[in-house]
Symmetry: C2
Subunit: 335 residues, 2 copies
């Protein structure tokens, strides 16, 4: 009977489609470890580079222990718009701390911070640093770690309403996994605070604490009721930006990277340092060209300005990722 | 015929002995991963600790990625007598540099350095640092790396005539391997210069550059004929000693270690910091008690003074290795 047959036929059809789908997606993922990347120059330069340094018969072969890949974080691994995530954290902390700091109501940049006036904070050289210090200092490292974890669990990107840890770039997440599958060490080398990134980097990026390099404040070792404690002071120890990045790479990694990924002028020197090594190197800039799925920005932006580094990329033939054309997906799909 | 038989019999005997020997040594090494350690309290505390943190059914179980072990270098992993090896390197470099520095002939501590008067150099607080700076600065990181490797290949310990890299402690080499076999990360946290240790640490200790933490000088990034270069300045960046050690551990590793090994007061704070963690921790001090196979020294020594840390160890029940009784072999046998 047609009617009783149809459901059965449909079921078979659905099952067949499902099975075919499973095979297809297995085949796709086996064939393509970078599905969020459209075919194009950037994807090709990544896969060609990895083939070259991992093929033992290639002249460019590099043994696994020398395969170091370094990644900027803000604007490279995750979205830095409409504001640096760590600045959002600082502004939220200052709201909580404000009752103990009546002087902030009158004094800049604290007044601007309490009003969440990001533009004002980014307008003067030392404003951002002052806000960071006021909101981040005189806690123990254990307390700070807890504060970051608690905030990250509830805070949301004001433009998308999604948790910040969902605002990572899916193509870069795939790239991290792809490189690790080829025995690369993946490192973060960020201008952001190292203690702000470490609490969630393993879960989100698969990068353990010891492979996160960032800006640091001076720490003070003290015995509190005989218990050894590390206290964050309000003095900067190291600002991991611009020329600071190759310096920090030398201090923490002790070798020149094989591959480097950045998105702004703050990454220029680590791009230069990496690219100047002998043998094959991959130097790549993420260029925020989209304008629809996320804001487009580069040469004049207050956040993540890409100007000199873009000129250097064009001059030196570094790979420049055109997000608009080359990234099929920006962020992980909402589950 | 007895005579013609004897050699054949002897040969069989020798072969049998060899085979038995091979089996025996295989069995010994399978049974005992720490053959240079005599049975005793220290060896037992190591193996009990490792069993406890690696047994998934133990209440003290720690997942592999949290298994961090940190080691001081001078006096803990290798011999620091009759002088710090890096000071020997500095003195040799100054001999080479002396013709360009006629002023050194009159000025302290350079005069003492040229006369190889170690006692004078260690007599005043800033003398050692001045000698280090004079001999180590204004080279690129690449040049410095080469200088260390070349020196290490030919320099000899003045007391034993052996290469410094042969003056490592065999029991500690076994301990490093034993911990790594149990999925520990092994790190060096040394007061010595990080760039002095990294060039040979992989070959000698199995520790890659990124797991060496040490003292650092400020580096300067500069373009030399358009080539990016890192230059060592004569300004200290970080002195990785005493309270500096837990601070550096936080900066580089980002987690409290599970196990710590030191030998002097410069290791006290990292011993305290490690021991104060929750769950099982191993805090161990190498006590140079021998006096025959190497000099005995502790509370009053200019090099590697062990005084306050020894008191703390006795008070807190940390493990103190008695070299005289507990180390069967001090250094790798001459091949």
């Amino acid at each position: 009977m047609p009617q009783s047959r149809r459901p059965a036929g449909s079921t078979i059809g659905i099952v067949a489609t499902l099975i075919a789908g499973l095979f297809w997606s297995a085949r796709v993922s086996a064939a393509d470890p970078l599905p969020a990347w459209n075919e194009g120059a950037s994807k090709r330069s990544i896969t060609n580079f990895v083939k070259r340094v991992t093929d033992p018969t290639s002249t460019g072969f590099v043994p696994p222990r020398e395969r170091i890949a370094v990644f900027d974080n803000d604007g490279t691994l995750w979205c830095e718009q409409p504001l640096y995530v760590q600045l959002a954290f600082a502004l939220d902390r200052m709201q909580i701390m404000a009752p103990q700091h009546p002087e902030w109501r009158e004094q800049e940049p604290y007044k601007a911070a309490l009003a969440r006036d990001v533009e004002a904070i980014l307008s003067k050289g030392d404003y951002l640093m002052k806000v960071m210090m006021a909101s981040h200092a005189e806690m123990t490292t254990v307390e700070f770690d807890r504060a970051v974890k608690e905030w990250m669990a509830t805070a949301r990107n004001p433009q998308t309403g999604r948790p910040y840890t969902d605002m990572v770039y899916q193509p870069m997440i795939e790239l991290l996994a792809y490189l690790r599958a080829h025995e690369f060490q993946t490192w973060i080398v960020s201008g952001g605070g190292v203690d702000f990134i470490r609490p969630w980097a393993k879960q989100v990026y698969g990068i353990p604490p010891e492979r996160v390099v960032g800006s640091t404040v001076k720490l003070r070792f003290e015995l509190r009721e005989k218990r050894p404690t590390l206290v964050r002071t309000s003095e900067f120890d190291f600002i991991n930006n611009a020329a600071g990045k190759p310096i920090a790479i030398q201090k923490h990694i002790g070798r020149r990277p094989l591959a480097v990924f950045g998105n702004s002028d703050g990454d220029l020197q680590m791009l230069q340092w990496t690219a100047a090594g002998s043998g094959p190197r991959l130097a790549m800039i993420v260029h925020h060209t989209d304008g629809v799925r996320e804001p487009a920005y580069d040469r004049k932006s207050n956040i993540g300005r890409l100007d000199k580094a873009l000129d250097a990329a064009l001059r030196n033939g570094w790979t420049v990722v055109d997000i608009k054309r080359e990234w099929r997906t920006l962020h992980p799909l909402v589950p």
